[in-house]
Symmetry: C2
Subunit: 140 residues, 2 copies
């Protein structure tokens, strides 16, 4: 009823967002495979998302986001993206570890911290020399 999504539902909607953005015709079973859960779990989750009016879905057809769903998903993905970029470009963590951590942390991190991370990433990409000095220092 409340408009806050659980971590689980955020994962579903985020995956739907990324897939449909890619032009993929995403069905329930595809989602089950991508998320590594059973078709039954997907079925349950999708009906929750339908009842929250975040997606449109009819059996055997492709899942689509409503306008509200798209907005919600974009917020989640934005968080994911900022975290991943920060982990990779600032903390120099490899891509897959950055993604995995972002996936979990995106559900909990505050807007404020994300905002700082974003500024920080921008700054660091601009000033590579400082980053190099940091790496040199940290390897001592």
């Amino acid at each position: 009823m409340a408009n806050t999504l659980s971590s689980g539902l955020e994962d579903y909607i985020e995956t739907i967002y990324l897939s449909t953005k890619n032009g993929e015709m995403l069905k329930g079973a595809d989602l089950a495979r991508k998320l590594g859960v059973s078709r039954a779990s997907v079925s349950e989750a999708l009906s929750k998302l339908v009842s929250k009016k975040l997606i449109k879905y009819n059996s055997y057809e492709a899942i689509t986001l409503t306008k509200a769903g798209d907005e919600e998903a974009q917020k989640v993905y934005e968080k994911h993206y900022v975290l991943k970029e920060f982990f990779e470009k600032v903390l120099d963590v490899d891509s897959s570890e950055a993604s995995e951590n972002a996936c979990k942390i995106e559900h909990f991190v505050s807007k404020n911290i994300l905002c700082s991370m974003q500024k920080f990433t921008k700054f660091f990409v601009k000033h590579k020399k400082i980053l190099e000095a940091y790496i040199e220092e940290s390897e001592k």
Copy 2:
């Protein structure tokens, strides 16, 4: 049975760790108040921790950590501390927001990322001028 603690149990053990470290005689009801949950929930959680041999506990007496419990708690708290320091000293987030975020994220962040954050914090504390340059830049 497995030796991995859920986020919830990590919170319990972390709170016990911090309180007892402070010399506090922590009873179940105190824990309930600190964590904002019912005494019944605490009672359940404590018996799980007892059966995992992480704490010692007899009704109406103070809770203590076993050696294994202390080690486990220290690991959790270390994560919390590294995150909080990073948020405060590098990202310039205020203390309470840093703590709140650390509390949630500590259960999910990888060792590797924590390690980078720790190095980063050390570096930044040392080189305040760079931080100042960053702040100037980010306020544009």
